[in-house]
Symmetry: C2
Subunit: 255 residues, 2 copies
DNA sequence: CGCCTTCTTGAAGGATCTCAAGAAGGGTGG
DNA sequence: CCACCCTTCTTGAGATCCTTCAAGAAGGCG
């Protein structure tokens, strides 16, 4: 099992080492983590609200949303997680889920026991540090989402979300154009931006007509990255992606 | 200096120990942290956007907001911090600020050097764990704020905010009534809820007329807690406050 | 007392929602 | 390969919540 998990754990490790500095031994510890693969269909809860979990989920393939809810039953997606993310890494120190995680598409996850994550963190303080740092990036993204739904209009909200996802998917936008897979319905986009699916539809039409971006089937086509960035008032610094090697941080001394 | 900081650090320690288990020695380490007191007037930045800080701020007295911004210059408050909070504890592992911190009222803070916090965390893994855990609570609150501005109407947004602050201030609501100091302008409330100050004003009028809650001068009077909770669709579980002693968590073994 | 911030209220306009219904798309079984 | 079904997308028309603009009242502070 450990062997077939290696490629998936490698993606998680890549994520960690994009912001944190880990020694070879520490990297081995990550790659040696045990994990149980599982699949979830669209609309299926991966973690229920209030559940006390004993493992964290590594998203291998697919798309996961963090959901909040109205008493009306209206749903709000407060975060979207993509392949390589660990949506509930925080559960290692706070096992009671304060919001639900649900698959937005057919999704494969790897359940990694808290015990293993905690052992790794205890044995290698730099790993604990890297985990903590990932959680702070998550929080920075959440904070931007508050700004997005709080004080931008529909065009800007959707553009901003597309920009964020393009960067997180590492889409190559240098030419001004880019395409990436995004199996989200307009309903989902509405839940994520605090809009109705009807208004999402009308807004996407505007983006399409202006030659900025279009969604067709399950993929996003960005036609004019600069225009999309401007329309979404996007500044990706908060994502802390694409850090130069020398910018990466390590507080803890080598063991 | 250490001595006069003790009462302030004690509040921070109380916060930590409300969710985490720390030994006497670890508690001493927190109380022994050095700190430099500073004051900030309303509208003054405590941390600038993009700044790389070398200390974290303990909020001693007053009120601090985490600010996001529009290109229009419209501001969005994505978090409100109160006395005893550490608004940028996350800077210990992510020193580059992805959003600004600004005083919402005359505020006293204690600047605690990263070096001291990191040493404490390195020497006592349970302290690192407690710090990390506090950051996850912050993230849980941010997630709820996305829900609040994303899918609730004005009455619910403001009610929810008042409920959250009442709980965080540990206001005694058992009788159904409560009062607490909240030196926020209606403009600030608007920035926090994604509404204009004009509409905040009209909404507060409704809450007042319905006998739910009223703001007068610098304090909030809650007249009917249950009605406020219902109007704000408030479920305070996410705040992880008032944990029973046996619910508190400690992963790390004693040193 | 006077100034400046904050609060309050009115009227009109705009962004988004609701309701509704038809079109398009993707998957499945015959 | 076609027919069918169900989800998703698309578009229209009217309603609603919230904003904008404006101006006066109230409140705190020197």
């Amino acid at each position: 099992m450990t062997l077939q998990n290696q490629p998936n754990l490698q993606r998680f490790l890549d994520r960690l080492t994009s912001r944190s500095v880990l020694s070879d031994e520490e990297q081995e510890a990550i790659l040696g983590l045990p994990g149980l693969a599982a699949q979830a269909e669209t609309h299926r809860d991966i973690v229920h609200l209030g559940e006390v979990v004993d493992h964290a989920c590594l998203l291998v393939e697919g798309l996961v949303g963090r959901f909040g809810q109205n008493t009306n039953g209206e749903r709000q997606i407060t975060a979207i997680y993509i392949s390589g993310d660990m949506p509930d890494l925080h559960s290692v120190v706070s096992p009671r889920a304060t919001s639900a995680l649900q698959a937005l598409a057919t999704t494969t996850i790897l359940r990694i026991p808290h015990g293993a994550l905690r052992s790794a963190a205890a044995r290698y303080p730099a790993i604990a540090e890297a985990f903590w740092r990932e959680c702070t990036v998550d929080a920075a993204i959440l904070s931007q989402w508050v700004v997005n739904v709080g004080c931008r209009d529909a065009k800007a909200r959707i553009s901003h979300l597309l920009c964020e996802l393009a960067v997180r998917y590492k889409a190559d936008v240098r030419s001004g154009e880019a395409t990436f897979l995004l199996p989200l319905t307009q309903e989902h986009l509405g839940d994520a931006t605090g809009l109705t699916s009807v208004h999402v539809n009308r807004t996407l039409k505007v983006l399409r007509e202006r030659g900025v971006a279009s969604l067709r089937g399950r993929s996003v086509h960005i036609h004019d990255w600069d225009a999309l960035v401007q329309m979404g008032e996007f500044d990706g610094t908060y994502l802390q992606a694409d850090m130069e090697p020398e910018e990466r941080i390590r507080i803890v001394q080598a063991v």
